[in-house]
């Protein structure tokens, strides 16, 4: 089974102080890394390929630094990487990105395309399914399990309230992968050394046969306008003192707010 995985380099923002510049998060001091959902997708692809004897290709669209996530994918077990790297792609909406990925796939035939459910930075959760539309592939989202058959796959989809749904798709197909589907492996030194000998294919818009008006802002119908940080509210009141004092003050506050009569 030949599998393509789309991966994205995103900022780790959980504990970072964010700043916005020109309607974009200032990435200067942020640590970048693979989008969490994509990491699960790579692991799932490598497992499926290991079981079936096929190969895994990882593909990303991003600046030079984005190559880091491709090397990571290779170190985890992918055999090939494609990097769509061109300033012309900047400002693309998900549909435009999907068309760029479709152009990069071209005539290559993959049995399965895996994407993360969403990216942690923009959270559109749409590039994957839009790519399925462009390629006219059946797709399933929110996968928490994938079983392979002869010419089909069975996908377990995560629904609300711990319920799940099993769907069957003919191959080729596209699946967006939910976090927790597996336990992603750690990158090993052996994996990193293997990547040393590999070449990563670099593609500009031109190489994909895309003109200026087919990429970036010009080709996009959805344009970003403003990015805002949440307003800083009143700081939390830290209660200090002995346990009795803290509990006493907590009761007082709850009473003040009308929580206790």
């Amino acid at each position: 089974m030949d599998i393509l995985v789309l991966v994205k380099n995103v900022p780790e923002v959980a504990e970072a102080d964010l700043e916005i510049e020109d309607n974009q998060i200032d990435l200067e001091d942020l640590v970048m890394g693979i989008n969490e959902w994509d990491n699960y997708a790579v692991e799932e692809a490598v497992r499926l390929a290991e079981a079936s004897g096929g190969g895994v290709t990882v593909m990303t669209l991003g600046d030079e630094e984005a190559e880091d996530v491709l090397r990571r994918g290779l170190a985890m077990g992918a055999g090939r990487a494609m990097h769509l790297c061109d300033e012309e792609f900047e400002g693309s909406d998900p549909a435009t990105l999907a068309r760029a990925f479709a152009a990069a796939i071209g005539d290559e035939s993959y049995d399965l395309i895996l994407c993360g459910v969403q990216s942690s930075d923009l959270g559109q959760a749409s590039t994957g399914v839009l790519l399925a539309q462009v390629l006219n592939l059946p797709f399933a989202t929110m996968a928490i399990g994938i079983e392979t058959g002869e010419a089909e796959i069975t996908v377990t989809r995560e629904l609300e309230a711990n319920t799940s749904e099993r769907v069957v798709l003919p191959l080729p197909a596209l699946v967006t992968v939910q976090s927790g589907i597996n336990q992603p492996r750690y990158v090993s030194i052996m994996g990193i050394r293997k990547v040393r000998k590999m070449t990563i294919g670099l593609f500009e818009a031109d190489d994909l046969g895309l003109d200026e008006d087919q990429v970036g802002e010009e080709a996009s119908q959805v344009a970003g306008r403003a990015l805002a940080l949440p307003e800083v509210g009143e700081g939390a009141e830290m209660l200090n003192g002995s346990l009795d004092e803290i509990c006493g003050r907590a009761v007082e506050i709850i009473r003040e707010k009308g929580g206790l009569s």
Binding site: E15, G33, E67, D68, R71, R72, A75, Y186, V187, S188, I189, M190, G191, I192, R193, V195, R196, G235, M238
Partner: protein, 380 residues
């Protein structure tokens, strides 16, 4: 001059950090309190190739440099010094084997260390011979083709866990040159007459095994000798010029942890109506910690890089070791100070860092010994 790490080196840092954060964080307090360790963590690190990266590909290693081993060490120690030491000290001695041992010894020992099949310990310090290593009194006396080993060692890292112990022993006590009196021997841990006892009650790095060893008429084959007879002291100095680099990385990793804990705390802790980070007294502490950490890292980066280029700069390595260790101790002290009473409890990581830091100024060359070396290179 290019200060940028290679892509491969950046990948190594990221991989080591991810493994350590994923596997060490939850276990650190437990190991510290109980003075135990789970060897499965060491095996997992070996499976991922983090252990013995400096060992040549000819002997199963990754064939990377001491520099890369330092990068991994810094990341492991930045998560937890005790576990970092327990995992990476398992090859302590491989540096000497790789430099001076016979091909047979190298092939016997080194692949097993990389694969997680064996641990090596190096026994140098004795009750009456600490910094003055040339006073080591354990003896190896020729007995036919082989040797007989007698004496005792103390503070031997992994002494009860190792499958092999490299023993620094007196072979020519009457030699006029006190640096030509000793030799190293590769001793199988199961040898009759060798007894190892775990030492407990350490201040820090309590996940790491430390033992005292007793040698009572331990019979060794002729091929237990490592390199040439009488070269032990010189081998020891060459060994330390590699392993001290790792101590620098340990120190910088610990300093980083102290700084991270401090930054998190002073931003959140409000006193006198404002976060501690707003006080200039706090800012000065943070500024000093961050600056000294970068300085220490640059020192060891250069020293390790030079060794990997085949240029061992004894003085620079001593500078890096002294400075980074002293800096780690100070950083841990200031981090605890900024945490106030909370930092005095072991539920707060800074307490452990404070205790873990001190060994850095003691093992593999006290700060005083390092300064003597530095002064020697400056004054001639």
């Amino acid at each position: 001059m290019d200060f940028k790490l290679s892509k491969e080196q950046r990948d190594i840092i990221r991989a080591a950090a991810e493994f350590a954060k994923g596997e060490f964080t939850e276990r650190a307090l437990e190991f510290d309190r109980s003075e135990t360790f789970d060897l499965d963590l060491w095996r997992a690190a070996c499976e991922l190739g983090f252990v013995g990266t400096f060992i040549s590909e000819d002997y199963g290693g990754a064939g990377l440099g001491f520099f890369e081993h330092c990068l991994i060490t810094e990341e492991f120690w930045a998560v937890d010094p005790g576990i970092g030491q327990a995992v990476l000290s398992t090859t302590f001695g491989a540096e000497l084997i790789q430099l001076f041992a016979s091909e047979e010894q190298k092939h016997t020992v080194l692949p097993a260390l990389v694969e997680g099949q064996a641990i090596i310990a190096t026994a140098i310090t004795e009750p009456e011979a600490g910094s003055d290593t040339s006073r080591a009194a354990s003896t190896a006396v020729k007995d036919g083709e082989g040797w007989v080993l007698n004496g005792s060692k103390i503070f031997t890292t992994n002494g009860t866990l190792a499958q092999w112990v490299l023993v620094f022993a007196l072979t020519d006590p009457d030699n006029d040159n006190r640096h030509a009196r000793h030799s190293f021997f590769l001793v199988p841990a199961g040898s009759e007459g060798l007894e190892a006892n775990k030492l407990t009650g350490k201040l820090g790095i309590r996940a790491s095994d430390t033992a005292e060893l007793a040698f009572n008429e331990v019979k060794l084959d002729a091929d237990a000798l490592v390199g040439s007879e009488g070269q032990g002291f010189n081998q020891l100095m060459a060994f330390f010029n590699r392993t001290r680099l790792h101590i620098c990385a340990q120190a910088v990793g610990l300093t980083r942890a102290a700084l991270e804990e401090s930054v998190r705390h002073v931003k959140g802790r409000v006193q006198f109506g404002q976060p501690l980070a707003q006080f200039q007294a706090t800012q000065f502490k943070i500024a000093e910690m961050a600056t000294n950490m970068r300085a220490a890292r640059n020192l060891y980066y250069e020293a390790a890089w030079l060794v990997d280029q085949g240029k061992v700069d004894h003085g620079l390595i001593a500078m890096a070791k002294w400075f980074s260790a002293q800096n780690a101790v100070r950083a841990a002290d200031e981090a605890l100070q900024m945490h106030g009473g909370y930092g005095y409890f072991d539920e707060y990581r800074v307490q452990r860092l404070y205790r873990d830091a001190k060994i850095l100024e003691i093992y593999e060359g006290t700060k005083e010994v390092e300064k003597i070396i530095v002064a020697g290179t400056v004054l001639g």
